[in-house]
Amino acid sequence: MDTTRLGLIIGMGVVTYAIRVLPSLFFAGRNFSPVFDQYLRYLAYALMASVISTSLFFTGAHFETAAAPLRLLALCCAVLVAFWSRRALWGLVAGVLLTLIFS
């Protein structure tokens, strides 16, 4: 196993564990304001959308110009199906099928 990656995975584990454990030791029962809760949610959503974009349209730092339009089309189709059916899995199936047809 690559030692740098190993160190980073352990680091990610430590960071996540600290966030899971420290509040229950120091802020047990404390009610965070709904405004703060909403900010954390919005931050997580924006980060997720950003990661979806970079992992779908980039390989490393290279923007995949040729493949991007089809991937965007498949993504839009998947999202619309998921949104209307209220089932993420149906959306994924639609997106995968479109990718299979066009690739």
């Binding site: 960071v15 229950s24 965070f32 900010y39 959503y45 997720m48 974009s53 779908l56 899995l89």
Partner: protein
């Protein structure tokens, strides 16, 4: 008073039964994560270790590309921290229900906290605490809560671990020619989950803007662009939602 009987403890089993829908939801996500890890060139032991130590889908997904391409360590850890900050609210909200349990046990069990196990356990504890039970010893009630929590959380964790491993092994056996599907699988699934989860119009709009802004951000700065754009758009979206709420409350 109920006594602990490990895996056959009634509270643990009740929690495990309540978590069955979570197992069903975790399987495709963790499976897709395993496939994506293989596509990004991570080893089986690396994705397994990540699922054990991190056990947080969005953060694991966000780390795949930066890990594979050797992006700065600070960026990976900062992204992990920001994405997982939502555990802060969950952990502090659920903590009062474990107030009297042994500290060492609690420190171990909280590693298995996920959004799903939190929702299941928290709603169960709230319902249980609303029922009067004068004979119940508070210490025993907290122990019971922890066993229920472990029933939901540890079984979901095992499904996650198994799913990511199976996904990785399946990706090894997928014949060439399916690269586009493999590349699409995990980001596509997370996008679908966001489409189902985001209810506020502002959040939906923010998600679309963040998607395109990340491309621009990456072109401007390949290391930090996506993270900076997400922080900016997330903060802007939240501010806009606050403004809309204030405006509708005052009118």
């Amino acid at each position: 008073m109920s006594t602990s009987r490990g895996l056959f403890d009634p509270d643990f089993l009740q929690g495990a039964r309540a978590a069955i829908p979570v197992w069903i939801a975790f399987l495709p996500t963790s499976f897709a994560l395993g496939i994506a890890a293989k596509v990004h060139g991570l080893s089986f032991s690396e994705i397994t270790l990540m699922s054990i130590l991190v056990y947080a889908g969005p953060a694991q997904f966000a780390a795949l590309d930066p890990l594979a391409t050797g992006r700065p360590a600070l960026q990976i850890l900062l992204a992990t921290f920001l994405i997982n900050l939502r555990f802060l609210v969950m952990s502090s909200a659920i903590a009062p229900y474990f107030r009297r349990v042994k500290r060492a046990g609690l420190l171990f069990c909280l590693h298995f906290l996920s959004a799903s196990s939190f929702i299941l356990s928290y709603t169960h504890f709230q319902k249980a605490s609303a029922k009067p039970s004068p004979s119940e010893n508070p210490e025993a009630a907290d122990e019971q809560n922890l066993r229920y929590f472990m029933g939901t959380a540890s079984t979901s964790f095992l499904v996650w671990l198994m799913g990511s491993g199976l996904g990785y092994l399946a990706a090894v056996r997928i014949p060439p020619g399916f690269e586009e599907v493999l590349k699409f699988l995990l980001p596509g699934y997370f996008a679908c989950m966001l489409a189902v989860e985001l209810r506020e119009r502002t959040a939906r709009l923010m998600g679309v803007i963040a998607l395109f802004a990340a491309v621009l951000g990456m072109m401007l700065n390949q290391n930090w662009g996506w993270l900076a754009s997400a922080l900016l758009i997330g903060t802007g979206g939240w501010w806009m939602q606050q403004w809309i709420q204030r405006d509708s409350a005052s009118s």
